[in-house]
Symmetry: C2
Subunit: 423 residues, 2 copies
């Protein structure tokens, strides 16, 4: 029986953990003096100085000069997260687009693009070629900005075997058993950065946790709101993955045994109550597309139309959205009973119709949660839009660097007056 957490804590890993601690503190708190860091982390000042020397040497932090803090203007010599030579690249391939989001380690955005692409129609080979092409262009953009990619994250709408970097099953793309990390690495050729793959909802949850409406909320759930409904679950500040990385498949919870047939072949899945196709069918039956088929052209336009109908007080649309809201609350109550999160963040079309969806959803949630008001949980609309998953993929790479700063190849020293002095 394996004891959990049974790993040796040796001196090399202690140093690594402390480098990581200091770096994370600077990321979360902004610029600080060495003595602020010592106070906040409990490390000795001498230790902080030694760690800082190494981080400066690796160019992961930079001196920002004297700052004056507070009313009395106490001056301090501050440092800040740097890593402008470290690139982190997040990518996403989804049903109808490829997206990239690249930053340096400090989060400065260097490239952000979304390219329309029919991944479902094109099949895995041509999709991987396109993902490789877009990723490679983004890597060139990062490199030109002086940031060498430390890793490439990929978000996929489906079940991902995270350890192998493989897609087990992506129903909306029609992919099965695809060794994505390996194939993408072959596409991008001589770039040596590792490729990490994860589920799109997981990564969107990470983006929300890192810098969205639920930033820093240790227990939260993120829901994608598209034709399919995925979930990303953060538990105690960490993504829940489960035994195979297949956790958070909220869309196919059976919530109505007498309900309608789902695209997956089962009956009464939550997706048949709150998926975009269902709302479109109820709100605009004359334009409806079939459940479980490919998304109709331009789902965003359909959502915009529903939003206009709601604004105009169209009774059929108001009723359809209220009904989806109630089912959103019912499924949400299962999530709250099981995970006890503080926030459920609504992505995709849910976010766009949040004003009308949240009141009935929140009322149903409060009626159904067994812990009642003791388990305070609110629905919140995401502000990250379609960029959430690629942004989360970039976060995953940045976390990796911050967890082990010693893995960043020692950068060529910057040209400073001191370097030049002897010439």
């Amino acid at each position: 029986m394996a004891g959990n957490g049974a790993q040796a804590v040796g001196h090399a890993s202690l140093r690594r953990a402390n480098l990581s601690l200091v770096l994370r503190h600077l990321r979360d708190e902004g610029s600080c003096s060495r003595s602020d860091i010592a106070d906040a982390t409990g490390l000795h000042r001498a230790t902080v100085s030694s760690l800082m020397a190494e981080l400066l040497d690796r160019r992961l932090v930079r001196e920002v000069g004297i700052e004056h803090v507070g009313a009395v203007g106490r001056p301090r010599r501050a440092v800040a997260l740097d890593g402008s030579h470290v690139g982190v690249l997040g990518t996403e391939i989804n049903v109808d687009y490829v997206a990239v989001y690249g930053t340096d380690l400090a989060g400065r955005v260097l490239v952000e693009r979304r390219v329309g692409f029919d991944a479902m129609g094109m099949g895995p080979d041509r999709s991987l070629k396109e993902l490789g092409r877009v990723a490679k262009e983004a890597i060139d953009d990062l490199t030109r900005a002086g940031a060498t990619p430390a890793g490439i994250g990929v978000a996929i709408p489906g079940l991902v075997d995270v350890a192998r970097g493989a897609v087990a099953f992506a129903p909306n793309l029609g992919w099965r058993d695809l060794p994505l990390a390996e194939r993408l690495r072959a596409e991008i050729g001589d770039v040596r950065a590792p490729v990490m793959v994860d589920n799109d909802a997981n990564l969107a949850a990470l983006a929300e946790y890192t810098g969205g409406v639920a930033a820093g909320t240790a227990d939260m759930v993120y829901l994608t709101g598209e034709v399919g409904i995925g979930g990303g679950i953060v538990v105690g500040g960490r993504l829940l993955r489960g035994a195979d990385g297949f956790s958070g498949e909220v869309g196919h919870m059976p919530v109505d045994p007498t309900g309608s047939r789902c695209g997956c072949g089962r009956t009464g899945c939550w997706e048949t109550k709150v998926g975009l196709a269902v709302l479109v069918r109820a709100a605009t039956p004359e334009l409806a597309y079939e459940l479980g088929t490919a998304p109709a052209p331009d789902p965003e336009e359909r959502v915009a139309e529903i939003a206009r109908g709601l604004a105009a007080g169209e009774p059929r649309m108001l009723a359809a959205v209220a009904e989806v809201g109630r089912w959103l609350g019912l499924g949400g109550s299962i999530l709250v009973n099981l995970f006890n999160p503080r926030v459920i963040v609504l992505g995709g079309y849910f976010a766009k119709l949040a004003e009308r969806l949240i009141p009935p959803a929140q009322a149903e949630l409060e009626r159904l949660v067994i812990a009642g008001p003791a388990a305070r949980c609110r629905f919140l609309a995401s502000g990250l839009g379609f960029g959430a998953a690629s942004r989360g993929a970039a976060s995953m790479v940045a976390d990796q660097v911050i967890n082990d700063p010693t893995a960043v190849g020692s950068a060529p020293p910057a040209v400073t007056p001191t370097n030049l002095a002897g010439r």
Copy 2:
């Protein structure tokens, strides 16, 4: 925004972590030599020797002499987990009984008792008095055996505010907002051991993870099978607690909007499909008791009667159990879609009827889980019976000691020949 895991790793906590590491290794692996431990943990041999000296001094380990290992009989000087002077006490108060389970740190059972008690009828004050009385007797038993209690764990069938050690709401006991740890400490008087409170399903899950059918399975779910259905969820080797400690409330997932009324006042909760009262009503309608009322006298006798009916091939009973099995699989599929566990352990009456319940449950699970066979998950019957929660409460206390061995008061040195030499 708080970075997760942002804590200083100083030298005192490093030493504590390494003491804990060695102790956990001995608990999980049995007796070992110092060099086995160095190899397994990656610690230097000198470090292991120094840690071992402290653990021997605290009498948490003991020398077991020369052992001969393997075919070639290589001799080694082995040590083993000791802690025979450290008592850990687990208790449980439930609808119709109080249970205690006390061991020393090495897991040697020193006291185990289950006392019938009508906690629901007696109300919180008299129930606390009874729990205090039974706990105190157990403490006396531990103390007589030379083991001073390092802590007292309490399992409660309800929502527990773990940080405060308080019961937020225990519907089947009728308790609300009860500061249990504080009250129990007052009952047991001069015993200075800390009191830790948690939900019974959580603690039963911990007992299963520590030493039951799913021992060491890092991702697992435990289900109590009584009138109420509770869940304990282990994720990555740790109990899932959620923002308030209210996670795992599986019994009130709404699974049938047209279903029957639950004891909680809502409609179609999972408990109305798989709770003991429902099965009894379907299998032996002439003896049925009302849903949501107190359990009928001797639910165990009812279950035994159903088991006899099943053995005799009684069609009504076979049909009733098969129907519960299917609903068990349906609710189980929600848990597998969300948590992706490797095992769902069935406790309570589920375990007693496992032979007939598991086949339909497993079939339904496999039909409904979206990841299909990729998410391998099996239903298994618990072997721990009613003792699971008190056993888990004792595990919780033992974990606490193993996580921080320096908190164990330095024990009076044992009388050894060396001690006596100078007299």
